[in-house]
């Protein structure tokens, strides 16, 4: 009987080595993901950003993503056809009313400029004085 209990207690040992390994990996992951300046912004799926060298860090998380088939503003999706433009304008005005004056425009690199221009105009109409264009640093 005593032998039986002894055996079960030995199987409850915690393997510290693999636990430490796991924590080390998680630590490196957080360190590499941590940005010392600016904020990390979500890259909207399906959008390929252009690359540039003359960049500044993203200061705030608010964005409007202009894709080939849809527009996304902080998680909400709209049609790219133009029929949702009044709603997009309202949403941008809401962001502006929160006291924000920083909006990043994520536009797909293959789009013709007039598509991005339409949303630059809407951002200006909503009260954002400077459009910031999202790019990937080279």
């Amino acid at each position: 009987m005593a032998r039986f209990f002894k055996k079960s207690s030995s199987s409850m040992e915690l393997n510290l080595t693999s636990l430490m390994d796991m924590f080390t990996i998680i630590l490196f992951f957080f360190l590499s993901a941590y940005s010392f300046e600016g904020v990390l912004m979500k890259l909207v799926e399906g959008i390929t950003l252009p690359e540039a060298r003359s960049v500044i860090p993203v200061a705030e998380k608010f964005y409007i993503a202009v894709g080939k088939d849809r527009i996304e503003i902080s998680g909400r999706t709209y049609a790219v056809t133009g029929k949702d433009d009044p709603y997009i304008l309202r949403e941008l005005k809401d962001i502006k009313q929160k006291g924000k004056n920083y909006l990043v425009i994520q536009a797909d690199k293959d789009l013709p400029f007039y598509v991005a221009r339409n949303y630059i105009r809407l951002a200006v109409q909503a009260g954002f004085s400077k459009p910031y264009l999202a790019v990937l640093p080279k």
């Binding site: 693999s18 990996i25 252009p50 293959d110 013709p112 400029f113 105009r121 459009p131 910031y132 790019v135």
Partner: protein
Amino acid sequence: MLYKRFRKEKKKGTFLPILIPVMNLFLLILPFVIQNAFLQKIASMELQLPSVSDSPANAFQSDAGRDIVIEIKREGLSLFLGDARHMNVDFSEGYEQRLYNKLLELKNELPKKQEIVIKIDPLIQYEKVIKVIDICKSEGKLFPNVVYYDEVK
């Protein structure tokens, strides 16, 4: 009996040490995959819009008639200094270097100039626009203030 017990323990020990490094390896790869998939570090590029102080009425405050304007069209770029056309650059190979050299010349000519105005053809590819703005700024060495001139027709 005693021999059997030892043999059993030996079996357990040989199985686990193989599994742990494999699991570690997967855990090591996983964060990199997640990072590359979702957390690409996005940066931004400032694009200025014309302000009231840039209007012709206030033009005497800056280099009047010495505005540098780039027109980006489908066939290429046109560079203007004031009203005079300075040069044309077509989108053939190496246009980035030719544009950079020309802008560097202008910067040497007008060292205090910080602004450059860009007019953009609506049908041009967005990536090309970003490339031209990037060359104009050249990490702050040439003309850091790129002003977008929006023509409403």
